[in-house]
């Protein structure tokens, strides 16, 4: 039994070990994508969540399989955390038919509907009302699932954020709004783009609870989100959870990062969410150093083999262009 921290009741020691490996999967996935992007082997654009693994993994960890999520342009982590197969994700980034979207969506549109991932989104704030709609279905059909709605600090300045959360609030919908505040929306510092300390404070305007969690501490994320998920499942309506975190890489390809300092980046790198969980697991005697390294290696190999899978998958044929437009 874990002694030094409190955990949601459904989180077992085995689950924590799985989460440790999953966070490495997320990190290696995005680091590989970064590498292949630089080599010109992945095209288009992509947004990496290196440094933000704990908010994705922690939030999804407390869910049941039937629960759903909506994701963002920075969505690889959410996708893996909700149980996606990295092979199909990587194949999508390579534009192959074996990808989640048959090569038609790419990084910004990966969806894994079977696993309850209603999709990444290229439109900032675009997924927030969709989450509310999924919550409405859950309520009207009495399906009992909860929807986790991921979005960024920047997205909280879109009208869709305000309109959707108000609606979820007045209808008591089972949605948990998770703001991953990584301090910047592209180059816009949250300090310059909102005049409040916490985006979670906006919850007061909708008459719902708002809570700030340490987004780089998976335990804190799990506890905060779990409480909100329980409320939602019990018909008590939505919550805003703000996970304070940081993206280590640039916004997307070719970002000179002129809007922030290297010192600030260094400070946040020291708050590495994976290292933190590793330390906890070792201190608690759940993992040995060797076992932890082994899990890390396993994650690395899975990502490497996803690259092979992607490269060996077929390109879509032009005949498929006009398929899947209408149901």
């Amino acid at each position: 039994m874990i002694k030094t921290v409190k955990l949601p009741p459904q989180i077992t020691e085995e689950k924590l070990v799985d989460l440790y490996k999953d966070m490495w999967l997320i990190r290696y996935f995005d680091e590989k994508v970064d590498e292949f992007f630089a080599k010109g082997m992945i095209h288009g654009t992509t947004h990496l969540c290196v440094g933000q693994e704990a908010s994705a993994s922690g939030a999804c960890a407390v869910l049941e399989n039937k629960d759903k999520i909506t994701s963002t342009h920075r969505g690889h982590g959410h996708c893996i955390a909700k149980g996606a197969e990295v092979n199909k994700m990587m194949a999508e980034l390579f534009g192959r038919t074996t990808g989640y979207c048959k090569g038609k969506g790419g990084s910004m549109h990966i969806a894994d509907v079977d696993k309850g991932n209603l999709g990444a989104n290229g439109i900032v704030g675009g997924g927030i009302p969709l989450a509310v709609g999924a919550g409405l279905t859950s309520k009207m059909k009495e399906e009992g699932y909860v929807v986790l709605c991921f979005f960024g600090d920047g997205a909280s300045n879109e009208g869709s954020f305000h309109e959707a959360i108000n609606l979820a609030s007045i209808w008591d919908l089972p949605v948990v709004f998770i703001c991953e505040n990584n301090q910047y929306g592209m180059s816009g510092s949250v300090k310059e783009m909102v005049n409040i300390e916490n985006i979670a404070d906006r919850a007061a305007a909708y008459g719902i609870p708002g809570k700030v969690v340490d987004g780089n501490d998976i335990i804190d994320v799990m506890n905060g989100v779990n409480e909100a998920v329980e409320r939602a499942r019990n018909g008590q309506g939505p919550t805003i959870i703000e996970a304070k975190t940081y993206r280590w890489k640039g916004h997307s390809k070719s970002d000179a990062k002129k809007y922030r300092t290297r010192e600030e980046e260094k400070e946040w790198r020291e708050k590495d969410p994976i290292a933190r969980l590793r330390k906890l697991l070792i201190d608690e005697g759940i993992l040995t150093e060797e076992k932890a390294d082994q899990l890390k290696q396993e994650a690395k190999h899975e990502i490497e083999s996803s690259i092979e899978f992607a490269k060996n998958s077929p390109e879509p044929s032009v005949d498929e262009l006009m398929e899947d437009i209408y149901a």
């Binding site: 654009t45 090569g103 592209m186």
Partner: protein, 332 residues
């Protein structure tokens, strides 16, 4: 003359105007030190400061409305939207407010603003970042719509757009940003509503917009080898449309192919074709008008599919040949 890129021409047009006119300012997302999503405003905040190069939150409805409100009260804003797809979020402000205020107020007030935004596919950014939605804007009385295709045109047209007292939707094509051309250093204006004949020819007229001007010119060069003489007309502005230049060209060639990247169905090509059908050039036509446009599909991510979704040079060549083979036969 000096060669600069299309992107530099846009920046230069804005900078020169901002030096001349204190009422001109830019607002948009990440246009400060980041230099904008495509780097168009790079260096401008350093010259003009954060009051006149205003970095905004990610709030397309609010920033469009703010530009309109500022324009109505004496400023001359330039609004940069990172991708033209995001116009959807600004739509109420543009369509229900900017376009109509003056008319609804019985001719009082004006909205001198330019909304600049990159459009088009070809970067692998997929369905929500690659659209060509200009036809929507042309349907709205009160808006002007510009689609420059060269570095020279973009500078002169932007000057005219900034001088205009009406809301102008100014579409820049992402793939044109790096293209180069001769551009005068001094300010100059190309009137809105004046088409440009990009290549003279006698057999077939191709009216093409934005990046398709370049594809049409490539097609023309290919066809030239087969002895087919193509005239390429670039309307440059869709509203107002220089119908006269197109009519004159069609009277000369008797054949018309209209090409745009936007989805063919409901695209502006239909408007151009109808304008010819309604004009006295109709009697001169020797073949049905051909429209070449994007397929009715969201832009896919895979690069080969992406290319297949929008017109390419061989599609244009094929359309030209069809008009040459298909004569209109008069039924007795």
């Amino acid at each position: 003359m000096r060669e600069i890129t299309y992107l530099e021409a846009v920046r230069e047009a804005m900078s020169q105007e901002m030096r001349e006119n204190k009422d001109v300012f830019i607002l948009g997302e990440d246009i400060g030190v980041y230099g904008g999503a495509f780097g168009v405003t790079r260096g401008m905040i350093e010259e003009f400061g954060p009051e006149r190069v205003r970095n905004t939150p990610i709030s397309e409805s609010a920033i469009a409305g703010t530009a309109i409100g500022a324009a109505l009260t004496g400023m001359r804003p330039i609004l940069e939207l990172q991708f033209s797809d995001f116009i959807t979020i600004s739509m109420d402000q543009i369509v229900n407010q900017a376009a109509k205020l003056r008319y609804m107020y019985g001719g009082k007030g004006k909205v001198p603003m330019v909304l600049r935004t990159p459009a088009g596919s070809g970067t692998g950014a997929a369905a929500q970042h690659s659209q060509s939605l200009e036809a929507w804007m042309t349907h709205i009385p009160g808006l002007k719509v510009v689609q420059p295709s060269t570095a020279y045109d973009v500078k002169g047209l932007l000057k005219a757009a900034m001088d205009d007292d009406n809301p102008v939707i100014f579409y820049e094509h992402k793939l044109l940003y790096k293209t180069k051309g001769d551009v005068p250093e001094e300010q100059y204006s190309i009137p809105l509503g004046k088409a440009d004949i990009k290549r003279e020819g006698t057999d077939v007229t191709i009216v093409a917009t934005a990046i398709m001007v370049h594809k049409a010119l490539e097609a023309a060069a290919e066809l030239d080898k087969e002895g087919i003489s193509i005239e390429v007309v670039d309307p440059r502005t869709l509203v107002p449309l220089d119908t006269d230049t197109i009519v004159e060209s069609v009277k000369k060639t008797s054949r018309l192919v209209v090409v745009h990247e936007a989805v063919k169905r409901g695209g502006y090509g239909g408007e151009i074709a109808s304008a010819i059908a309604e004009s006295d050039a109709f009697d001169y036509l020797d073949a049905p008008i051909k429209r070449v446009g994007g397929k009715a599909v969201p832009i896919p991510y895979n690069p080969e599919l992406e290319k297949a979704a929008v017109p390419q040079v061989p599609d244009i060549i094929e359309a030209v040949k069809e008009t040459l083979n298909k004569r209109i036969t008069t039924h007795a």
